[in-house]
């Protein structure tokens, strides 16, 4: 552990005159799961999209330590190289699985497609990997040839995760991965994600408005309000000993069960 995997340097993003995200800087180290929390409109998804190279910041830069090509400036890469990065070393799990999957092809093809994008050609191997990953995300193998349109919301989300992890990424961005799912389905997904992150030593940046999800999945938290990071620290520090008025309000708003 000698260098950060991902570094944000003064990221600012404006939409017209509105500042969605204001001079955010941090370092993500290998094996860390960072949560970005805050209410809707606090700028967390904008920040995530800037980090993942999907949205160009107006100011600041994002650097990433690649496996073989040293440190790269994410927003200065050519479109082709950035696309390669997002297919190989990175994953992106959308809140809405339909945005992260191809709904018109089978589950197996959804997983296999990512492997083919990085050069896998042997049909038998690809199908084997797809089956392995379907098993890991707890989807019955007899659903391999079904399209995700026939899947439930929770299954689609698990399939999206399999599609992202099959290429063995080091860094995964997740935007509200459990949002919009029933509570029992959420618990299963959280547990699955937690196990996969541990087992494959993934680093991750996770956006959520659910502090319970953050508590279970993340090591560190950044709290955003009105586009700025108002507090950060270890997840248990931020939730058990919140310092900023906004964080104290958020923590006090959790309904006891």
């Amino acid at each position: 552990m000698t260098a950060p995997l991902l570094s944000a340097h003064g990221i600012t993003k404006r939409f017209g005159s509105r500042i969605a995200c204001r001079s955010v800087s941090f370092e993500l180290w290998p094996g860390e799961v960072l949560g970005i929390v805050g209410e809707s409109g606090s700028g967390k998804t904008t920040l995530l999209n800037c980090l993942a190279g999907r949205l160009a910041p107006d100011e600041g830069s994002v650097t990433y330590e690649t496996v073989s090509a040293g440190t790269v400036d994410v927003h200065r890469l050519s479109e082709a190289r950035r696309r390669l990065l997002t297919r190989t070393e990175w994953g992106f799990v959308n809140q809405d699985a339909r945005e992260g999957l191809r709904m018109g092809v089978s589950a197996g093809a959804n997983i296999g497609e990512r492997l083919m994008a990085i050069g896998a050609r042997h049909y038998g191997d690809i199908r084997q990997s797809a089956s392995d990953w379907l098993g890991r995300v707890e989807i019955d193998l007899d659903r391999l040839d079904d399209r995700p349109t026939t899947y439930s919301g929770g299954m689609r989300q698990r399939l999206q995760i399999a599609r992202n992890l099959v290429s063995n990424p080091r860094l995964v961005f997740m935007d509200e991965p459990t949002g919009g799912l029933d509570v029992s389905v959420q618990a299963r997904l959280l547990d699955l994600l937690r196990g996969l992150v541990d087992r494959f030593h993934l680093s991750a940046v996770l956006v959520t408005h659910d502090l319970g999800v953050a508590r279970l999945l993340t090591h560190r938290l950044m709290v955003m309000q009105g586009g700025s990071v108002v507090e950060d620290g270890l997840t248990d520090q931020v939730l058990d000993d919140p310092q900023h008025a906004y964080t104290q309000m958020l923590v006090a708003s959790i309904l006891p069960v």
Binding site: L190, D191, R194, R220, L234, D236, Q237, D240, D241, Q243
Partner: protein, 239 residues
């Protein structure tokens, strides 16, 4: 008896809570805390309810963030061992200390849905690189010593009784043989037989050279484990 040098040193520690919703009320809980703990010692925190014993223990673990002072712990293997400062430490430093050096037994188990009890207990040892088989064996041993019936091992602890969850928590915190152990009422809500099992396990860790800081309201437990007492006084109360 050889006098060991301390592995945990606290100096000038101050912690207050600033509550914005209460019109900016500042509650000063700890001031000028100084203490050293050496291997083989068990320091019992004593003082009236509300004096700040739990706040001190949570600050030592890096869970609460003190405003001033220093908490240093010996951390790292062999030649790499050195003092590490925990006050204002970067998250990854605190996490590394928790993974390798410091264990914390709280009164409450934060349950992970759907994970079997044996795996909840084995997890800290797996993270240190033990094989699954080795970690599960050790977990089963601890669970049996702590009187958790074998038929429960494969179930998630979510539906267990308070006392059972407490013992699962203790097993999880003791599996990794941390050199520094922090205990917050480890025997609360346990019956006598189970309490004695927990005392034996902790005493064994202490005699093997763990440095322990604990809160024990039960006098019998305190007398069985503590080698020294430290009185925590709230600044609000102290003259």
């Amino acid at each position: 008896m050889k006098i060991m040098s301390p592995v945990l040193r606290v100096a000038g520690l101050a912690k207050s809570f600033f509550m914005h919703a209460q019109g900016g009320l500042e509650l000063s809980v700890l001031r000028d805390v100084e203490l050293d703990v050496a291997p083989g010692e068990c320091l019992a925190l004593v003082g009236p309810s509300g004096a700040g014993k739990s706040t001190l223990l949570r600050s030592l673990y890096g869970n609460y963030r003190p405003q001033r002072g220093s908490i240093r712990v010996r951390h790292g293997d062999g030649d790499e061992e050195k003092w590490v400062e925990l006050v204002n430490a970067e998250p990854r430093i605190t996490l590394d200390v928790r993974r390798h050096t410091m264990g914390f037994v709280s009164q409450f188990l934060r349950v992970i849905p759907r994970v079997a009890t044996v795996d909840v207990v084995a997890e800290p040892m797996l993270r240190l690189g033990a094989s699954l088989e080795e970690a599960r064996q050790r977990a089963e041993f601890l669970l049996s010593v702590l009187g958790i019936p074998e038929r429960l091992w494969s179930l998630p602890p979510a539906t267990f009784s308070g006392g059972e969850q407490q013992r699962v928590n203790i097993a999880r915190s003791l599996i990794a043989d941390y050199p520094v152990l922090l205990l917050d009422e480890p025997t609360a809500s346990l019956d006598t037989a189970n309490r004695d099992g927990v005392i034996d396990l902790i005493r064994e860790r202490r005699n093997a050279g763990a440095a322990i800081v604990g809160i024990f309201h039960d006098v019998a437990v305190r007398e069985a484990l503590a080698t020294r007492l430290y009185t925590v006084e709230s600044p609000g109360v102290a003259a």
